[in-house]
């Protein structure tokens, strides 16, 4: 109903931390593209809405040559047009570009996408295959955790009271490394992933896989890593039997549900297909990138 809520717009992390400490029923938001629809659908209204977008650090993208830092509230539209990120993490940028529509993307953020903890969110699998770290601020100061450790189940996170994500850190990938993200939706846009698959592949000088990371969305309560698929790739060319093994392992790793958006059988089968395809695309990109890091 959006009737009696208060609005706050701190301009520093410290100010936001203080505000959240003094107001127990406050809620941070970035784009509010999840939050407002949820309130409209009947979820309880917070007493105070805390806008994170006035804090410079939360909307900045920077790189120091070895690590990129992406503010947690940065609109995904900005991520999509960032040349450095597009070169280093094409899959993550791809995933960011899939959220909703142009209008949504002018608001939606990586922090909101991760902290909303929807199993079907598009960017978390890509954050995870790139070993992204989340810098979290709270009453106890700042701490850094793996992005993989933020969501703990549908709608639940490991964030403590008064904590919020400030930014994500992503290390510049090594040579011959690239990622890719694919999702299945029945339409071409404005839809929620029935299955999502992110892959990151590092090739050695002979075109064999030296390192791999595969993560699936929308097929379990949280993002699923597929270690069996990763080990099936290591030491092999990303083709033929190795890809078949990726497909089988990805299907096997899923723990999906039947719901209005898909069935268990469908999600399982398609998770394998998308994982295989994402690995192929990531490997192709890694090959093209060659020795650049």
């Amino acid at each position: 109903m959006l009737s009696a809520m208060k609005y706050a717009s701190p301009t520093t992390v410290a100010e936001a931390v203080d505000l959240l400490g003094s107001e127990p029923d406050a809620r941070v938001y970035a784009g509010a593209t999840d939050l407002i629809p949820q309130i409209r659908a009947g979820r309880p209204e917070p007493a105070v809405m805390v806008d994170l977008k006035r804090i410079e650090r939360l909307c900045a993208i920077s790189g120091n040559g070895s690590t990129y830092t992406v503010g947690a509230a940065t609109p995904t539209a900005d991520i999509c047009v960032h040349d450095g990120l597009a070169a280093a993490f094409p899959g993550l940028v791809e995933a960011s570009g899939l959220i909703g529509s142009d209008q949504i993307q002018s608001r939606s953020s990586l922090g909101g996408n991760l902290a909303n903890a929807s199993p079907a969110a598009d960017t978390p699998p890509s954050l995870i295959v790139n070993d992204a770290r989340a810098v979290i601020a709270g009453p106890g100061g700042e701490r850094t955790v793996a992005a993989a450790d933020v969501a703990t189940g549908p709608g639940t996170t490991s964030l403590g009271g008064g904590e919020f994500i400030v930014e994500f850190e992503l290390d510049q990938p090594p040579a011959r490394t690239a990622d890719a993200y694919l999702r299945l939706i029945p339409r071409t846009e404005m839809d929620i992933a029935v299955v999502g698959a992110a892959a990151r592949v590092t090739l050695d000088g002979d075109g064999r896989v030296a390192a791999a990371a595969i993560a699936l969305g929308a097929v379990a309560p949280t993002v699923v890593r597929v270690p069996d698929a990763e080990s099936a790739l290591i030491g092999n060319e990303p083709a033929g039997d190795a890809l078949a093994a990726v497909e089988a392992a990805a299907s096997a790793a899923t723990n999906p549900i039947d719901d209005k958006r898909g069935t268990v059988a469908y999600r399982r089968q398609v998770a394998g297909v998308l994982a295989r395809r994402a690995v192929s695309i990531a490997a192709e990109r890694a090959r093209e990138r060659g020795g650049q890091s």
Binding site: P186, T188, Y266
Partner: protein, 753 residues
């Protein structure tokens, strides 16, 4: 691209001026019903049933009435009782439930309060005690021998022998021609197939909305968006038990209807709340309410048997059609029966159609109601027959297509129709022979809708400066105002932009039926032409007076009165000159046309669709689409193309993804556009619309309705294309990725071109 028969050359008809309502719409200034606000207005909220099927034991409104800002609460008992057999019984008990709720979302009470939040809070405080009954959610459940019966009074109409016990079958329609058994005996190939389809929503962008202001004199004014404000008036009057004169309905701009706004939901509630509170009441549905409580098109189970000779001659057809219209009797089965075999010469046929009630929202019309589903069955079966016989799918249709003089299955002979021309237009289009890419397939399908006439009224008022106002009673849901102006321009001989076409309220223009059945440009256009022709006679008379001539010596040529007599030269008189002198020649210049239109020409369409199927995920993308349709005469070709393209877009959604998802208790799980998947713009290629013009002899400009036929062929066109790409015949809608992948997997993996 337009295929044209020789026709009279028109000055304005067939041109593409900017529509009169266009600028206001694209700048966001046009007023839709939810844009209207009145000082002192209250906000009304409907209390809806959470159960799909339940008896209402009691309703306690006392707590709600005591809440802050609440000015009125109403329940079913506040309206006159209605008994089964009443002409509009279903509408009355649908707008507000009386003793029983029949679907989740059924209105049981309504609240008006100073703010929407207050009304919402009060609505939540209305205490309804339900005796929950088992819900009937599918056709099979409705027909099961021990099925709970929704309506204790429902004795199947048309049953033979007559029904003795109530059931969930509201009516049975049967008709036949020729000798069915003899027909099948002549056939060289007989196939029988079964299909299931799900209810789909019309998906109009604008939710239902209205404002009602009831005065102490017992008169009310309703502002609302609908496809027919005279129908809003009569239905509201019926439900309230009021005389028609007490209700004035002013049409707002309408943001899509597609048939779904041919009935009413909110207006009587708003009037009753307004009467009780003594203040204007505004009601606007949420999208959630639109999905749960308004008009799906019927779901079906269809079984069809076709017999064909080896040369491709269709000889026999047997159809058993079951339609469900939600919780109420409905015309789905009847309309399915009327359309199933109508496009082809099938000398021996039998049709039996059942209408069945289940515990879902009452279905409403949706473009060419019922016909897309029978076309889905028939047109995919024709493809199968063609393949079996080794005959080209186009040739099979050309061979059997109905043409002028052929008897329809309804008994009448077809007048001049353009089915063959539509087939030829597609056959001759470059798309028909364009190469396909990997994993792509092509599907052809045809469709038919009979179109209707009904009552229409128009008034033409000439203004002091020689411009004109054309008032009609037809809400403009697809550009009809522009078409009215073009026909009037052609008749009067003035520029279409010197004519202001408006939709008059129920007290400003003569009775006009709903904008439905693709009738506005046809029937209301006829009324406009009639009014204009009377006006031209009047103008000639006035000019004759001014010239001092006999009316028979004055012609109307290109917007001027021209003297043709032998009494020397007289200067022609323009419309402006005649209007300027109107006071001295007989007063204001107005003319009306009111008529019951007959001869609505049937509309045929032929579509060609290319899809690309991801054989590993079952995702289907439409990559190319060409659609021909006989418009008779395209008054404003852009809006004919718009109707064709819109029909395709909606038909593709129906084919691929749209469906209602209910839980086991009949509660809808996907009441939003996020999960009820209509196509988005990027799902569709540019749709190439081919206007075929085979003039309808019954209309002064040859118009046939174009609003509906375009939604008939897409489902089978997509299905036939998927078959071509995958080797799989999908006989259940929607053909979602899950279904397509299942079919491909069952077929042993991909098998495409």
């Amino acid at each position: 691209m337009t295929v044209t028969e020789p026709k009279p050359s028109y000055k304005y008809v067939g041109t593409r001026p900017v529509r009169h309502d266009g600028l206001e719409k694209v700048t966001g200034r046009a007023r839709f019903a939810a844009d209207l606000n009145m000082s002192g207005q209250l906000h009304g909220i409907v209390v809806r049933s959470p159960h799909a099927h339940a008896r209402i034991v009691s309703i306690d409104t006392s707590e709600a009435e005591a809440m802050p800002g609440v000015k009125a609460v109403i329940i079913g008992d506040d309206f006159p009782a209605v008994e089964p057999g009443h002409r509009q019984y279903d509408m009355c008990i649908n707008v507000i439930a009386r003793d029983k709720v029949l679907y989740e979302g059924h209105a049981v009470a309504a609240v008006a309060a100073s703010t929407r939040d207050q009304a919402q809070a009060a609505a939540a405080a209305v205490k309804v005690e339900y005796d929950v009954l088992p819900a009937v959610l599918t056709i099979d459940q409705a027909l099961a021998p021990d099925a709970p019966v929704l309506h204790a009074h429902m004795m199947t109409a048309g049953a033979n022998p007559p029904a003795e016990e109530p059931s969930n079958i509201s009516n049975i329609t049967r008709f036949s021609g020729g000798e069915l058994d003899a027909g099948f005996a002549e056939a060289d190939l007989v196939i029988e197939r079964e299909f299931t389809t799900q209810p789909v929503h019309q998906g109009y962008i604008e939710p239902h909305a209205c404002v009602a202001d009831t005065g102490q004199d017992g008169h009310t004014t309703i502002w609302c968006s609908s496809q027919g404000h005279f129908n809003v008036r009569s239905s509201t009057a019926t439900l309230l038990g009021w005389e028609t004169t007490r209700i004035r309905v002013i049409p707002a701009e309408i943001g899509g209807g597609f048939g779904g706004k041919t009935t009413i939901y909110l207006e009587p509630l708003a009037v009753a709340l307004s009467a009780k509170a003594g203040r204007p009441v505004k009601m606007v549905m949420t999208r959630d309410e639109v999905f749960r409580a308004t008009g799906p098109a019927p779901g079906t189970k269809l079984r069809i048997k076709l017999g064909v000779q080896s040369d491709g001659n269709l000889v026999a057809g047997d159809a058993y059609l079951i339609y469900t219209n939600g919780a109420y009797a409905g015309p789905g089965g009847l309309l399915g029966a009327m359309t199933v075999f109508e496009s082809y010469k099938i000398p021996n046929f039998e049709v039996e159609a059942l209408d069945v009630v289940i515990n879902t929202a009452r279905s409403a019309a949706y473009r060419a109601p019922a016909a897309p589903l029978t076309a889905y069955a028939l047109e995919t079966m024709l493809d199968e027959l063609a393949e079996e016989l080794g005959i080209d799918a186009m040739d099979l249709r050309l061979k059997n297509a109905v043409a002028e003089g052929d008897p329809s299955t309804m008994g009448f002979p077809f007048a001049r129709i353009g089915f063959v021309e539509c087939l030829e237009a597609v056959r001759d289009h470059p798309h028909f022979t364009a190469p396909l890419g990997p994993n792509q397939g092509r599907g052809l399908a045809a469709g038919y809708w009979f179109n209707i006439g009904e009552s229409s009224s128009a008034t033409v008022n000439l203004n002091e400066d020689g411009t004109a106002t054309v008032v009609t009673g037809s809400p403009d849901i697809g550009g009809s105002r522009a078409s009215m102006a073009l026909m009037a321009a052609e008749e009067l001989g003035i520029d279409p932009h010197d004519i202001r076409p408006v939709v008059g309220d129920t007290e400003a223009v003569g009775f006009t039926d709903i904008t439905e059945g693709s009738r506005a440009t046809f029937a209301t256009g006829m009324a406009v032409v009639e009014a204009c022709r009377k006006m031209v006679v009047e103008l000639r008379g006035r000019a004759a007076k001014m010239m001092g001539a006999d009316i028979d010596d004055v012609d109307w040529v290109d917007g001027q009165a021209v003297y043709t007599g032998s009494d020397g030269d007289k200067d022609p008189l323009s419309m402006a000159a005649i209007c300027a002198k109107a006071k001295r020649t007989g007063g204001p210049l107005t003319a009306t046309g009111s008529l019951e239109a007959h001869g609505a020409g049937p509309g045929f369409a032929v579509h060609l669709c290319d899809v690309e199927v991801d054989q590993e995920t079952g995702v289907v993308r439409v990559v190319r689409y060409t659609a021909s349709q006989d418009a008779g005469t395209a008054i404003h070709p852009s809006y004919v193309e718009g109707q064709i393209q819109g029909g395709v877009a909606q038909g593709v959604g129906w084919a691929l993804n749209e469906e209602y998802i209910y839980d086991s208790d009949g509660v809808m799980e996907n009441p939003s556009f996020l999960d009820y998947r209509v196509p988005v713009a990027s799902d569709l290629p540019m749709i190439d619309a081919i206007i075929v013009e085979v003039p309808n002899p019954a209309h002064p400009y040859g118009v046939r309705g174009v609003g509906e036929t375009g939604i008939v062929p897409p489902i089978p066109a997509v299905a036939n294309a998927i078959y071509d790409a995958t080797g799989c015949r999908l006989r259940d809608l929607p053909m979602s990725p899950i279904r397509v992948l299942e079919a491909i997997t069952a077929n042993g993996g991909s098998n495409g071109s």
